[in-house]
Symmetry: C3
Subunit: 343 residues, 3 copies
């Protein structure tokens, strides 16, 4: 139990909105605890850690995997995660009567021991608005607030990716090359998962290449942090607009669709226009041919995968695909975070 | 554990549709048990009281706070509350095929150890219909049925209010003055919370003043009970149609919007008309100026608060506001009730 | 605990899509375990069997009773059942981007210890499509998959029926006559419950008569299995298109509406046409008059009952009605199955 005690001493009550807000040793501790929780999953070691405690899950956007993994996480620690859809919650806006975030957050702090929020894609009027709402909840809550994916960040996905890479490439990721590449498709995805991946890969000393067609730049502030991370670790950072080149020498390929910086106009996501635009780049699909340029590269993806558009079946179901392991890791890192931060 | 044993001996299997149906010593016992549960929340004393038992929550109307607090309550006692929305349940009506309340209630009695129902506002065709449905469930069920707010009563809110007043004014509320005042706003609320407050305040020996514009009378039968309660306790009861006068000498102010007796026409809630009418009384807002007339008065409200219409931010977030304590009390009184009544 | 150990040794990891897929001794074991779980419901004997384990409930169609009984079942074994509505899940179709069943199933196998799926009526484009989806999930999952009712089968209902008949007619059902009769009404029900009843009654050695108006034939393949079951057991099988005749000498009457084989046209359920057609047979209602022809016959039904159309109140609420017992049995057989198959 010493790992858990150490984590609780260091992290009790801590919000997790983005991995970049945390020290590397804190992230390491969560990953170590997650690995122990995976090993001891059914031994009973962690069965009563959150006995009878509640974690609130606020889903502005629906989600299957995130909901499943968080609810399982709470159950496996002896607690319970409540599935809440705030569509039924009348929050105050400029135009309508309703409750302030402050009131909602203060009351929820009396009931639960932790809370996660998911808000992105069509539920935000512009890039960054979801993340701002999380910050507001964090400001007013007395319990730890965590992002279950917002429009900027997805810290648990970044932790799960890293846990997967460490399992398959070894604990020390320095000197390994990670390719983060855009994929075409009709899903118009937010930037949270890919930005968090770039942050974590650079944080753990990997060389990072980001590949995307022109017009698909990510958040300049976040990319700035990725560059800084690389600089501090003495690793390399590159951006390319070629579909194939980035694969050269890669140890890990992460291929996923994301929306363009023009996706939100006048407070609304232009989903149809974005999909039309994205479908114009059919070359941007991760396939065996490209993968051959890598260094026996792993394939990873936060799922759900859009097979045939982001990646071919060959690769997604191939021997070097670690997608199911990474999906499972969501459970373990979330359990580790909950156990460390919830009182 | 003696408090719980006493409560179970006295209250096992008891419905709770309105506090007025219960003896004062029974209400006292629930409040005492709730206070002990608050003190012992994380000591483990009550961790297994409802181990593996189920409480059904039937939400004809959505709710955030009620759902959160009931689901947490069951979790904290080692059980589980199921969140059910009967919109998906085909109950028989005059016009459609479907299941009778009797059949539904009899089967649910085989699965769960207790059940709560919430039905009010736009989900009822006329005042009192929600309460009648609860009575019908109670008639046919073999398990205790409780109101999670209907169009007439909200017993757990009344218990939580009282627990809050006892904490901040002392256990003996006799001789203290409670002002229940209407507030303007766009929420068109049912009468359950305010009627239950008046019942409990009068039951516990407080002087009760009800203030509202003309045309906002509450249920004459319930007001009759409030008067009777006052008479039995030798305390005073008054109604005023002035916005300020009732504050004079008050120890507690409870300000909240409610709909008029004309709100339902031909089986439908006239929400738009009601809101228009209510917004014509902007003087009816609880503010510092009025509060100065009181006796260092506490401010309370069952939440969610419509700030700027029912009450000013100054008052709602002021030093004498007990809104978050009262919200937390919902958890404790619900735990006490569940533990005492569910087998 | 020996019964549970025997069941786990024999059944760990087993899917349950239809009782016909299982050996009779396996079904017997589930029924024996269910009876013991009913007896020991609150003694604590089975309180921690699935401690902290998760069962996923996938409801393509909503349901009250099935959801309640499965969620209670998991809770009573110390685990938790997650209520999931895949409407929010983007599965890949011929026309839209989304996740494959394979990917969904593989990931869910990492989180949960078992999964149930419900898909029938208007959520399938043609008879058998729901059952095919379950087969696909079963193929790709590493955890046991069970049917919570699909368009062909409803194994837990069949087990619950049988447990009820054994309680009220004795453990040995050989030589008893079961009448499965169509009832008129406006519910346009799938065939799963009635087909499963016929399979189980014939499996347990009963004489089986199926009565329905012309044009309401059930699945010929399933009826073939029923006939085979009867032949193996040396019992009788008959089909009649008379409303009354089948009651002669019956020990159990199961009356329920079902749709015709023409219900699906061009990928859609023709609900309105089916209801119009069904309402043309008002003679097809189980009533005291018909019941008198039986051998002091029990009445059973999987509920919800459409009183006044499928059956009269006299019969449904009469002394020989076992509907509430059978509904309760759902809980016990589901607990037994979960405990036996989930790791």
């Amino acid at each position: 139990m010493e790992l858990l005690e150490k984590a609780r001493a260091m992290l009790m009550g801590r919000d997790l909105l983005c991995t970049q807000d945390w020290k590397k040793e804190e992230l390491d501790l969560i990953l170590d605890l997650a690995r122990d929780m995976q090993k001891e999953r059914w031994t009973g070691k962690y069965f009563d850690v959150l006995k009878n405690r509640t974690y609130f899950m606020f889903f502005y956007n629906p989600s299957v995997r995130t909901r499943q993994s968080f609810e399982c996480a709470a159950t496996e620690l002896g607690g319970h995660a409540q599935f809440l859809e705030p569509g039924t919650m009348r929050l105050k806006t400029a135009k309508t009567a309703g409750e302030t975030v402050e009131d909602a957050a203060k009351v929820m702090s009396r009931y639960a021991a932790g809370m996660g929020i998911r808000i992105l894609e069509d539920k935000v009027p512009e890039y960054g608005a979801g993340w701002s709402l999380l910050k507001e909840y964090a400001l007013h809550s007395d319990i730890p607030i965590s992002s279950m994916a917002d429009d900027r960040f997805h810290p648990f996905q970044g932790l799960a990716d890293t846990m997967g890479m460490q399992k398959h490439l070894g604990m020390n990721l320095k000197g390994k090359k990670a390719l983060l590449t855009w994929g075409h498709g009709a899903l118009c995805r937010s930037w949270c998962s890919v930005q968090e991946f770039a942050l974590m890969a650079s944080r753990y000393g990997m060389d990072v290449t980001i590949a995307h067609p022109e017009g698909y730049d990510l958040d300049p502030e976040v990319i700035g942090w990725v560059k800084d991370n690389c600089k501090k670790n003495g690793s390399e950072f590159a951006i390319t607009h070629e579909a194939e080149e980035g694969y050269n020498g890669a140890h890990v390929v992460y291929a996923r669709n994301w929306m363009s910086p023009q996706a939100y106009v006048n407070g609304e996501l232009q989903k149809k226009a974005e999909i039309e635009k994205a479908l114009k780049f059919p070359k941007w699909i991760c396939c065996e041919d490209y993968m051959k340029r890598g260094n026996n590269a792993l394939f990873t993806h936060p799922m759900p995968i859009d097979r045939g558009q982001e990646v071919t079946d060959d690769v997604a179901s191939g021997k070097r695909s670690i997608i199911y392991d990474v999906a499972e890791n969501r459970l373990h890192v979330q359990k580790a975070y909950m156990a460390a931060t919830m009182k």
